[in-house]
């Protein structure tokens, strides 16, 4: 039995339930739910981070988010709401919210207090402080939150096939029902999902890396200027700041349960 037989057969790629269509569905589920989750989570995260209220909520949500079996949540939603695309999108959106919310709230709350106070002193309104200072500073962290969420969603979208929806999971689930003969089909689904997941992860990873590097370059320029002013080199402070930014990354430590 040739494992790649299913992938190699061009007939399997065309048509309404061909591989191309499955990839399209998979990307559509992923993109739509990520977009919805990002809108909700960033708005909520900005409010929590800026006004410093309800931070316990973020911690609770992100801890619970890690322990929730995503498959269980999806199946529960589908059983309650009926099968189809809407319940799947709903479940995927719910799963994508915690990582983005956590990253946004942390990023906003830990935005350089010096910059935030300076912008207030310059007479900026709350809205201006958020959009022109806090959000740009929090942006790299928000991107890593999006990255974690996308991991979660791409893999859970596979499981959506159990709920009679489309996507690449169809290949896995349909293949499994065929028994031994379905293995090439399952394998095709698995390989394609892995390729999509890894590609998205690498792209967002590169974006996050680029953003972080740009920020650390500005930080270094700042430190150099302080030393030029003739003040004592601020090793303690910069060490503390490094520790801080490190812990901010830890908060959004990769977590996924599918």
């Amino acid at each position: 039995m040739n494992l790649f037989s299913y992938l190699a057969d061009t007939q399997n790629w065309a048509g309404a339930d061909g591989i191309t269509a499955r990839i399209g569905q998979h990307l559509a589920y992923t993109g739509l739910s990520l977009l919805l989750a990002a809108v909700i989570a960033i708005a909520l995260g900005v409010a929590i981070g800026h006004f410093r209220v309800g931070q316990f909520l973020v911690v609770g949500v992100s801890n619970a988010g890690r322990a929730i079996p995503t498959l269980g949540l999806l199946v529960l939603v589908v059983t309650l709401m009926g099968s189809g695309v809407t319940p799947v999108l709903f479940a995927l959106t719910v799963l994508a919210i915690p990582p983005i919310l956590n990253a946004t709230a942390t990023g906003i709350a830990e935005a350089d207090p010096g910059a935030v106070q300076a912008s207030r002193a310059m007479g900026m309104t709350s809205w201006q402080v958020i959009t022109q200072v806090e959000l740009p500073l929090a942006f790299p962290l928000i991107v890593s939150g999006l990255r974690n969420a996308s991991l979660q969603v791409v893999s859970t979208a596979t499981v959506a096939a159990l709920a009679a929806a489309g996507g690449l999971g169809r290949l896995v689930v349909d293949g499994q029902r065929l028994g031994e003969d379905g293995y090439p089909q399952m394998f095709a689904g698995a390989v394609l999902v892995a390729v999509i997941a890894v590609t998205i992860d690498i792209l967002l990873g590169l974006l996050a890396f680029g953003l972080r590097r740009r920020r650390s370059r500005t930080n270094r320029a700042e430190t150099a200027r302080t030393i030029d002013d003739g003040r004592a080199p601020t090793t303690e402070i910069s060490r503390a700041r490094r520790a801080e930014s490190h812990s901010a990354e830890d908060h959004s430590a990769e977590s996924r349960s599918t």
């Binding site: 079996p69 520790a243 990769e254």
Partner: protein, 213 residues
């Protein structure tokens, strides 16, 4: 509720299976990544590149890994070994980072003091570096354990998901109770395991409370 009263034996069996499938990989990964992580740490900055590269493995959805395992291991699709090996791979990738971070969190002063007191490499490792690195490593372990417990359920898609089977059962019969019971048990198990590690950490490593985890 009828279902619940006659399904306790099944639930018990699935819970035991679930514990085995989630904890075996953690134990295996602990041993592997302590060794790998220490070696990685010794490579210095090169470790960052290797960690980033192996991190890609974590991006592979578990269902994809579960499905590919029989091919790599030559096992049957329904063999629990597939799940155990796949989860061991994930756990090792995640724990490697914590182990490296842990060793990096050991203060250079402590290391130098141990050397100055005439500690050999091995004695310094086990008497000084490891105890000081453990708090960071254990916070990584907490994430891994909780993630594993939730991830095992995905095996249900290929018919081998321990408590995840309850989701399948409920879905196929359109009955919510097994699904809710499954979710609750998985979350309780995750919570208990997480609490247990935290307890061990605080009891055995009283100095860890000073470390921000």
């Amino acid at each position: 509720m009828n279902w619940l009263s006659r399904s306790w034996p099944l639930i018990g069996e699935l819970t035991a299976q679930h514990a085995l499938l989630s904890f075996a990989p953690v134990l295996l990964a602990m041993v592997i990544s302590l060794i790998l992580g220490y070696l990685l740490h010794r490579t210095g900055r090169f470790a960052n590149i290797l960690l980033a590269a192996t991190g890609v493995v974590y991006a592979i959805p578990s269902i994809a890994l579960f499905v590919t395992m029989p091919l790599i291991l030559g096992t049957r699709i329904l063999d629990p070994i597939n799940i155990i090996v796949a989860l061991t791979v994930y756990s090792t990738v995640l724990l490697n980072r914590s182990v490296v971070d842990g060793f990096r969190s050991v203060p250079e002063e402590a290391r130098q003091a141990a050397t100055a007191m005439g500690f050999g490499t091995l004695r310094r490792l086990f008497a000084v570096e490891l105890p000081l690195a453990l708090p960071v490593m254990l916070s990584g372990l907490r994430v891994v354990v909780v993630t594993n417990i939730a991830m095992v359920t995905v095996g249900a898609v290929i018919g081998m998901g321990a408590l995840g089977q309850l989701f399948d059962l409920g879905f196929n019969s359109g009955y919510v109770v097994p699904i809710v019971v499954g979710i609750a048990l998985v979350m309780i198990m995750a919570l208990l395991a997480d609490g247990l590690i935290l307890l061990i950490k605080n009891l055995l490593l009283p100095w860890s409370r000073r470390v921000r985890a």
